[in-house]
């Protein structure tokens, strides 16, 4: 499958994500400049981590206006799988593709470390290959990952089973101590109602090789490949792709 990685001027995990797609998984991958207006027939879109425009204002607040973003929105509306990692998640929130917002971390400090998240939902293109309740070791690296939404929004997220990842202890328990940033309900990642757009603060692309500490993050990308194969069988992918092309070519 072909994976598009969007490059904002301050993205800094774009190459890491591209590397995993291309070199670790052997997929077709392309870096798409944020000023482009075509996703070039990609089957999936990833918004990578970084500081899109320096993020002096609010993380992702300027990135949502990048020329590529309307295309990402159309792609998502057509059911195409979209993953936002860290800053990419923040951009998805600002762009309104996912609900809620990010506050500064509870301790007001940037935090980078390996921790554990539990996969709460497997019915998304990015968790399809996981076991429900599977705990994975992945790193975080952010200063604004304290997920917040209005109580009714959080309630709806929980009811609709849109909370995809939660911070847990190494033994898989959801505890106060295992929450690194103060996120409501230990939320580390969520999806939209249609379940094709997923955002998460941890960096699965940094956990795809044992040599760098963990390969637990691979399952996120393997899920996407599995989703792609199953969609092909069902003809879903062809539909989304062709719909998307119509939109782009118009």
């Amino acid at each position: 499958m072909k994976i598009a990685v969007v490059v904002f001027p301050g993205s800094n995990c774009d190459h890491d994500t591209y590397y995993v797609a291309k070199d670790v998984l052997g997929q077709d991958a392309e870096l798409i400049w944020h000023k482009d207006t075509s996703l070039r027939r990609a089957d999936a879109v990833i918004l990578p981590g970084g500081f899109a425009h320096g993020d002096y204002l609010r993380t992702g607040a300027i990135a949502r206006f990048s020329p590529i973003m309307p295309e990402v929105a159309k792609f998502a509306a057509a059911g195409g799988p979209v993953l936002g990692i860290c800053n990419g998640f923040q951009v998805l929130l600002e762009a309104g593709l996912l609900p809620g917002a990010m506050l500064r971390n509870r301790r007001l400090q940037f935090r980078c470390e390996f921790l554990h998240v539990r996969v709460e939902q497997t019915a998304t293109p990015f968790t399809l290959a996981c076991r429900s309740g599977q705990s994975i070791k992945v790193p975080i690296a952010h200063g604004e990952g304290n997920y917040y939404a209005e109580p009714d929004v959080v309630q709806r997220l929980e009811q609709n089973r849109q909370v995809v990842f939660r911070y847990v202890s190494s033994s898989g328990e959801m505890t106060e101590d295992s929450n690194p940033n103060g996120s409501v309900n230990n939320i580390a990642g969520i999806c939209n109602e249609a379940r094709n757009v997923v955002g998460l603060m941890p960096h699965p692309e940094r956990a795809c090789e044992l040599a760098i500490g963990s390969d637990d993050g691979l399952v996120v990308f393997q899920s996407l490949l599995k989703w792609s194969r199953e969609s092909l069988l069902e003809g879903n992918l062809a539909t989304t792709t062709s719909e998307h092309q119509t939109v782009v070519n118009r």
């Binding site: 993205s11 590397y19 500081f51 993020d55 940037f110 980078c112 790193p139 090789e209 040599a211």
Partner: protein, 749 residues
């Protein structure tokens, strides 16, 4: 050229002596105007001209088989095979970091990153060496907090991992912290770019942030002591913009892929002045610019201010005539505005115009090569004789080993630096093979089978007690750390932090330290390819401990054979390579238990150190060594404890009593003596004989001292158990000691 009157007050304000002024007049053949005086003052400042240090620095070894670029460019470079070069340098930002900790440290990071990418290298790793006063002092905690978030704020945003470093604490740094930042990048060996201007008529371009009044006389400030006028110096600290630098980094690397570029240099200390005159001087050319064309952030800026501004994130480029449009297009893509501000000329002069009128004209060489060079007087310091005397018996019997062990684990110099490094993104770029705190910093070089190990080190107490030996010990420790990870040391960069060089005693410390550093680097075969000197590290007349920091880069041929500090398996054999002597001078024990810096530092046999490092590199390459950790602050007891941390494993070891120690210090010395050239390694039992044979072949003492296993740290001396602690308890003390200083403050606030 209108000239304000230049009198003694004006000269003093510029930090220019009467003798230096006379020299300027004779070089120009006339009186300079104020703009020219400003230009001379920054270029002849200690910070830019190395006028006090140059005579000493010339004695350092700077060449070697792998050296592609030695001192004199923006950074040094060594060959790492596969047609690639490691480009690296360390630089200080001490003075700004005390005045404004966050911005001072952040712009220090920004500056060293620019030095690396101007060479055509993609930066892949940052390290830092920091010194602060005692954490009991709230001002010190505030400084440290600011410095740490400033380093993180810049490096995290730009996406270069901060993969390692070291932090030391001593009262002498309370009013003058040290912030030394190291950066390493990878370039194609045959595509290294120089900071040179040549080719008459080629275009001089300015790109990056606009010029403001920030940082004017930053270089001069870094060349003066602090006193109570400190607060007035605030405007001389610049403000960093890592996003702008990220754009510059990407755009410059893209421009470098074309062959339209002749040379490039960042505008760091002394800004536009330094970049124009140095590039012209290196290329044997002249440079003519019009400051009216320079993008300005503020209105009414004078040529003097524009030339001396140290606004951050600015670059000067020399572009081939006729290729301008191509270069401008690349900068446009990154929303950067490249402005054509002048040309390369043939007359070897820096000519500055303002709206077409010449406002300064100086031969480039007068500002660079012909800057003053002083052989300042040196005297053995008066403190030395007394400080070197240490009579442990007179201090009374030591506390019980178990108590000392626990106090040392909690000492900020030894305790885990997790509170610090978890504020740094240390994993971006997905190359980090050893996480911070797990040994030397190690990053793999993607697309090759290799990895690079890096370590920055210095024990200021040793350098205070004997600058010659102290500097040698710094080189030995940094290269030993790299060798522990399996890296063959191939190059180094130094950052020499000292007090006021106009004091003969300080100059003596400096001279002896450089001598020691040179001797150690020669003996270990490690060329120094560049670095930085930071003098005048004094507040109200009191200097910091002499701190000659060295950063060593090592090459690991097989990135799958990286060795960390942590024990790996139950049942592995623990071996001490090297031997413990009665050497408590300048030790962490004396510092923590008696609050003293006394005695002489441990002796160093450079031939033995070289042999030890060979054993470590060979043992790592063959896969025999499973973990390796050197014995430094806190001695072998702390080393053994640290080998257990971050693992579920314990250790049981029996150490030999140390001869020469007073009877009551026999156990203390065995556990906490800081003898050099010692490493604790663990091997599988089947590999023990091979390791001992390897050590013996190199003439090194090596012996099994214990075994990995259990959940406790059990240490004996001559068969008598003296420490018996749960690993989890020891690790709790060690892991939370620094954090608790800051969390405590948070709780009150």
């Amino acid at each position: 050229m209108t000239s304000d009157t230049i009198n003694d007050t004006v000269l003093q304000r510029h930090g220019v002596t009467r003798e230096e002024y006379d020299r300027i007049v004779s070089m120009l053949g006339r009186e300079p105007n104020l703009t020219e005086l400003g230009i001379f003052s920054v270029m002849w400042s200690e910070h830019c001209s190395y006028k006090s240090s140059r005579v000493h620095l010339k004695t350092l070894p700077t060449t070697g088989r792998r050296v592609l670029q030695g001192p004199g460019e923006n950074a040094g470079a060594v060959d790492i095979g596969d047609g690639l070069a490691a480009v690296f340098k360390i630089e200080s930002h001490n003075h700004p970091s005390f005045i404004e900790p966050y911005q001072g440290a952040a712009t220090g990071v920004g500056g060293i990153i620019r030095d690396i990418f101007t060479m055509g290298a993609r930066p892949i790793a940052l390290l830092n060496s920091l010194r602060f006063g005692s954490l009991e002092d709230p001002l010190v905690r505030r400084t440290m907090s600011g410095v740490v978030s400033g380093i993180g704020g810049y490096g995290n945003s730009i996406g270069i991992p901060t993969v390692g470093g070291e932090i030391g604490f001593d009262k002498s740094y309370a009013g003058n912290p040290l912030v030394n930042v190291f950066c390493l990048g990878i370039a194609k060996a045959d595509e290294i770019i120089k900071g040179t201007a040549s080719g008459v008529g080629n275009a001089v371009y300015y790109v990056g942030a606009k010029t403001g009044r920030d940082g004017i006389h930053g270089a001069t400030m870094a060349s003066a002591e602090f006193d109570d006028t400190l607060n007035e110096k605030r405007p001389a600290v610049q403000v960093g913009d890592p996003f702008m630098e990220k754009l510059l980094l990407e755009a410059c690397l893209e421009v470098m892929k074309t062959d339209a570029l002749i040379g490039i240099q960042d505008m760091g200390a002394a800004g536009l002045t330094c970049s124009t005159s140095e590039m012209g001087s290196r290329g044997g050319a002249g440079v003519e610019i019009d400051v009216a064309l320079v993008p300005q952030r503020e209105t009414g800026m004078t040529p003097y201010e524009i030339m001396l501004s140290e606004s951050q994130e600015r670059m000067l480029l020399v572009v081939k005539k006729g290729r301008e449009a191509e270069v401008e297009r690349i900068f446009d893509k990154w929303d950067l505005h490249a402005v054509h501000i002048g040309e390369v000329t043939s007359d070897g002069r820096l000519r500055v115009k303002n709206h077409g009128h010449v406002v300064a004209e100086i031969p480039n060489h007068a500002l660079t090569d012909e800057a003053p060079m002083y052989r300042r007087p040196m005297t053995t310091p008066a403190y030395l004789e007394k400080a070197q005397q240490l009579d442990l018996d007179a201090l009374g019997a030591p506390p019980a080993p178990r108590e000392v062990f626990r106090r040392l684990l909690a000492s900020p110099g030894i305790a885990s630096k997790r509170w610090v490094y978890r504020q740094y993104d240390h994993m971006v770029r997905t190359n980090t093979l050893l996480l911070p705190g797990m040994g030397a910093a190690v990053v793999r070089v993607k697309e090759t089978p290799r990895a690079l190990a890096m370590s920055v080190d210095c024990n200021g107490r040793f350098a205070y007690l004997d600058p010659f030996v102290g500097a040698q010990l710094a080189v030995a420790e940094a290269s030993r750390n790299v060798a522990c990870a399996g890296g063959l040391p191939i190059g180094a960069t130094n950052c020499l932090n000292f007090g006021n060089p106009e004091k003969p005693e300080i100059m003596w410390q400096f001279g002896r330290a450089v001598e020691g550093m040179g001797a150690a680097c020669r003996a270990l075969g490690i060329p120094i390819t560049g670095g930085n000197v930071s003098l005048y590290n004094e507040t109200d007349g009191s200097g910091v401990l002499p701190t000659p920091v060295i950063g060593v880069v090592g090459l690991i041929e097989d990135a799958t054979r990286v060795v960390g500090r942590a024990f790996r398996s139950e049942g592995d054999v623990v071996v001490m390579v090297g031997e413990t002597r009665y050497e408590m001078g300048g030790s962490e024990f004396l510092h923590v238990v008696h609050d003293q810096i006394r005695g002489v530092p441990p002796q160093l046999d450079l031939a033995r150190e070289a042999a030890l490092q060979q054993v470590l590199v060979e043992g790592a390459a063959s896969g025999a060594i499973r973990s390796a950790h050197d014995c430094v602050e806190g001695g072998v007891a702390i080393t053994l404890a640290e080998c257990c941390f971050d693992t579920p494993l314990g250790v049981e070891a029996d150490l030999a009593g140390v001869s020469g120690a007073p009877a009551v210090y026999r156990e203390t010395a065995a556990l906490f003596s800081e003898s050099a050239s010692r490493v604790v390694v663990s091997v599988a039992p089947a590999q023990l004989a091979a390791l001992l044979a390897l050590a013996s072949a190199k003439g090194l003492p090596a012996k099994q001292i214990g075994r990995v296993g259990g959940s406790r740290i059990q240490l004996s001396v001559d068969g008598k158990q003296v420490v018996n602690e749960l690993v989890s308890e020891a690790e709790r003390i060690w892991a939370t000691a620094i954090e608790s200083w800051f969390e405590r403050r948070l709780a009150i606030a």
